[in-house]
Amino acid sequence: MAIDPGWTATMDAAVQNPHSADYDSVIQAALADYKARLGATPNFPALDWLLFKALILTESGGPAGAAWTGRVMQIGNPGDPAYTVLKNGGEGSALVMGAQLRIDLDTRPIATPSLNIQAGIAYVMTKAAVMQLHEVIDSPTPSNHVVKRGDAFARIANSEHTTLQELAEMNPKTNAGSLHPGQILSFHRAHMQVAIIDWHAVTANFLATRYNGGGDKNYEAKLTYVLGKLQP
């Protein structure tokens, strides 16, 4: 199905609107920050700021849309999982975001346009980062934990300074239902370390798949259309 002509007319007008440049510096500064902090990680992707501008125009509907002066990237809309992920530092976003953005997410309204844009870009970058979790053994000497009434794996891992993965590896037949007082679990003291090992290319297709999640089957075509209008 072709893109709705009404939508292309809206975007044509949006691109021509002088206010479409309102957030150019916000986008450029955010992308420069990611390049400065994470540019040395393996295969850090090329970041086309105009593609992000196309994303913002598509998400908001442009300067004439109500979202332009609020949740420009739709982050923090009712039911939006991205805002919760970012606030909690989940899905590896804590490793991707800058320290100031984490503070701002806790202290400033998400309907602030510049913050909303920074949050949206952070979510894109979190989705683009390929992360791997490594277990680091802190003590080569194995230890034992005697299960007490009410013990749960997460609590045991926390109190014994080890990991769920280590408990699983050392006690492969054990499960939550089989824990009983007096049972002995073996483990090494360990912790998990997450690292960025690769990146996905940030393209219109990537944004359609990972940011929009297939919510609009024309999303990639829409981004490509707006990008074409923005490119000199």
């Binding site: 598509t58 998400e59 908001s60 509907g61 849309g65 109500a66 979202a67 739709q74 809309n77 009712p78 039911g79 939006d80 999982p81 989940g90 899905e91 590896g92 976003s93 804590a94 490793l95 979190t126 989705k127 980062a129 390929v130 992360m131 791997q132 979790l133 749960a152 794996f153 997460a154 769920l164 993965q165 408990l167 699983a168 492969p172 037949k173 054990t174 499960n175 939550a176 239902g177 089989s178 998990m192 997450v194 798949t209 990972r210 940011y211 929009n212 999640g213 297939g214 919510g215 609009d216 999303y219």
Partner: protein, 150 residues
């Protein structure tokens, strides 16, 4: 009397097997609501059983849940696999947006593409540990996937 007997003989009164599918899906959705997996601010597009895994000697159940955030002007989809206990209590939720869960084998779920765990690690094979208390994301070349079933 004669009509009722005829209906009974023809099986009209017996529930059709397909109705069990609808009942099972309704039960799954009810459990996902009770477990606060579904967000009332999102639109539920689909929730379905995928397959079962065995972890720590327990049989656990994988559901695929697709919801939509009704943003204006662009709706955004949010897809997760949810690991459920035998009592349909949610044990794990993993974002699979952009990937399709394919099949289960032993303690693992195999997917078409990478999923992202809450800790940020990603992979196309989700291994459930300790009876579902933990997950480990693994990366495996799809040509080395095992055959489903068995």
């Amino acid at each position: 009397m004669g009509l009722a007997l005829a209906a009974l003989l023809l099986g009209a009164a017996a529930p059709q097997p397909a109705t069990q599918l609808e009942a099972a899906q309704s039960g799954l959705i009810a459990a996902l609501r009770a477990g606060h997996v579904l967000d009332p601010a999102r639109v539920l597009l689909r929730a379905s059983y995928v397959c079962s895994v065995t972890s720590g000697g327990e049989r656990l159940f994988v559901a695929d849940v697709l919801e939509q955030v009704r943003g204006q002007p662009e709706p955004r989809n949010y897809e997760r696999v949810v690991l459920l206990s035998a009592a349909l209590a949610p044990l794990q939720q993993i974002d699979v947006t952009g990937a399709t869960p394919w099949f289960c084998k032993s303690d693992s779920l195999y997917l078409s593409s990478d999923a992202t765990a809450p800790d940020g690690s990603s992979g196309n094979v989700i291994e459930f540990l300790l009876g579902g208390a933990a997950v480990q994301m693994n990366e495996l070349d799809p040509t080395r996937f095992p055959l489903p079933g068995g």
